[in-house]
Symmetry: C7
Subunit: 84 residues, 7 copies
Amino acid sequence: MPKNPVSLQKPLDVMRNTIDKNVLVDVRGNRTYSGVLEGYDVYLNLVLRNANEIIGGDVKGVHNRILVRGDNVIFVSPSKGDEQ
Amino acid sequence: MPKNPVSLQKPLDVMRNTIDKNVLVDVRGNRTYSGVLEGYDVYLNLVLRNANEIIGGDVKGVHNRILVRGDNVIFVSPSKGDEQ
Amino acid sequence: MPKNPVSLQKPLDVMRNTIDKNVLVDVRGNRTYSGVLEGYDVYLNLVLRNANEIIGGDVKGVHNRILVRGDNVIFVSPSKGDEQ
Amino acid sequence: MPKNPVSLQKPLDVMRNTIDKNVLVDVRGNRTYSGVLEGYDVYLNLVLRNANEIIGGDVKGVHNRILVRGDNVIFVSPSKGDEQ
Amino acid sequence: MPKNPVSLQKPLDVMRNTIDKNVLVDVRGNRTYSGVLEGYDVYLNLVLRNANEIIGGDVKGVHNRILVRGDNVIFVSPSKGDEQ
Amino acid sequence: MPKNPVSLQKPLDVMRNTIDKNVLVDVRGNRTYSGVLEGYDVYLNLVLRNANEIIGGDVKGVHNRILVRGDNVIFVSPSKGDEQ
Amino acid sequence: MPKNPVSLQKPLDVMRNTIDKNVLVDVRGNRTYSGVLEGYDVYLNLVLRNANEIIGGDVKGVHNRILVRGDNVIFVSPSKGDEQ
């Protein structure tokens, strides 16, 4: 197996480096969550603090803390979370 | 592997710390359950006490105890459960 | 790992304690089964005795014994089964 | 772990005791199969002999032998199979 | 565990005994494949020779050899394949 | 376990023997890919070279190389790929 | 097991050789992502830098970095990413 000649950002490295930062999380069923990433596991289950739930562009719910199940996640965007 | 420099709330830690507290659980198919969390496992199967089933905003059922299968869970919100 | 300070009802404990009692089982596709729980396994496959199948509020079938596949289960309610 | 105080019918026990008997099998997509159970495995893949496929209430196909994939199974009813 | 008192046809036994014989395979999405079974694996991935693809009753494609992914299989019928 | 009396083409054997040959790949969501098979793995993830993406009968995209995720594959047809 | 007589591009080899290059990623639900591949894992979870999200042909979002969950991926096209 050849050596990897380039820098590599493993998906879970990205998650670890995003702890305590804002993230935007898109989920199946047209749902979006934004908040501060508090934790995650290998299934991409996520814990967010001060989270907004956005459905169809409108804030539908505000949660002090929320556990989003990884199965339904489409993407996690650390950068986008900071902008919001 | 670098040390994690920040505090980390693993998803299952959140579940364990929520035992005997109210939770709001959103499930596929437009269903919501609220009640006192009695137990869980690694699949996010949940046991709720004094649970309401809410479909489309209306309370459809009241359950002394209910086992919600983890496969269908979208999110678990400990904070939101306390408000209700 | 800290000790769990509170009483914990594991999902499969709830199943074991419900053996020989009535349960209500909601399944994907708008199906509900009620009957006496005879058995289960870790996949939440369930065996019910004297079971009714309810689709859209109407009893569609009566079964002396039925094996409901766990994959499709949304919730199992021991208490609700007793009421029926 | 406390002893189980009651009789327990494990799902796969039910399958084993149904070998050579009639079963009714409901499958996703509004399909039903009835026939004599010849075999099964832990995935609930089923082998039926002299099987009818019923779609929307009408017999759509007759099969000397058929292997029904477990993934799509909703329920297996041994008793109901005998009535048909 | 009691001895099984009856003859048992395991699903994969049926597959093995069907090698080099005609089969009819129903697949999700209203697709049917008929052809000579050349091989299979434990996932029910199937290899068919001289296969027809039938969609909505019409032959849509003819394949010298085709690998059908097991995930989508609803049933495999050895007997029905012989009739066609 | 009895010996298999007939020739057997395991699904992954078919894949290996198709390397560097044309294939036609049908995927969920009405998508078809044709191209030269460069590689595969046990999940049926596929690498195609000089690949066309066909949606609803029209070529929608041309790709020098494309990795098609195995999860969505319905069938792989080596022979059909040669004809195109 | 016969030796493989031809060159073989394993799916994960393609991913590794695409690090730091542009990719186009099609995802279920009519979503497309283009960007520079920074990382991946065996589940085909992907990390993209300078990523565009395209829904129905329109750029819907721009992300400095995005983690796309592998479960929803339909294809990854390294060549196509370079063209954009």
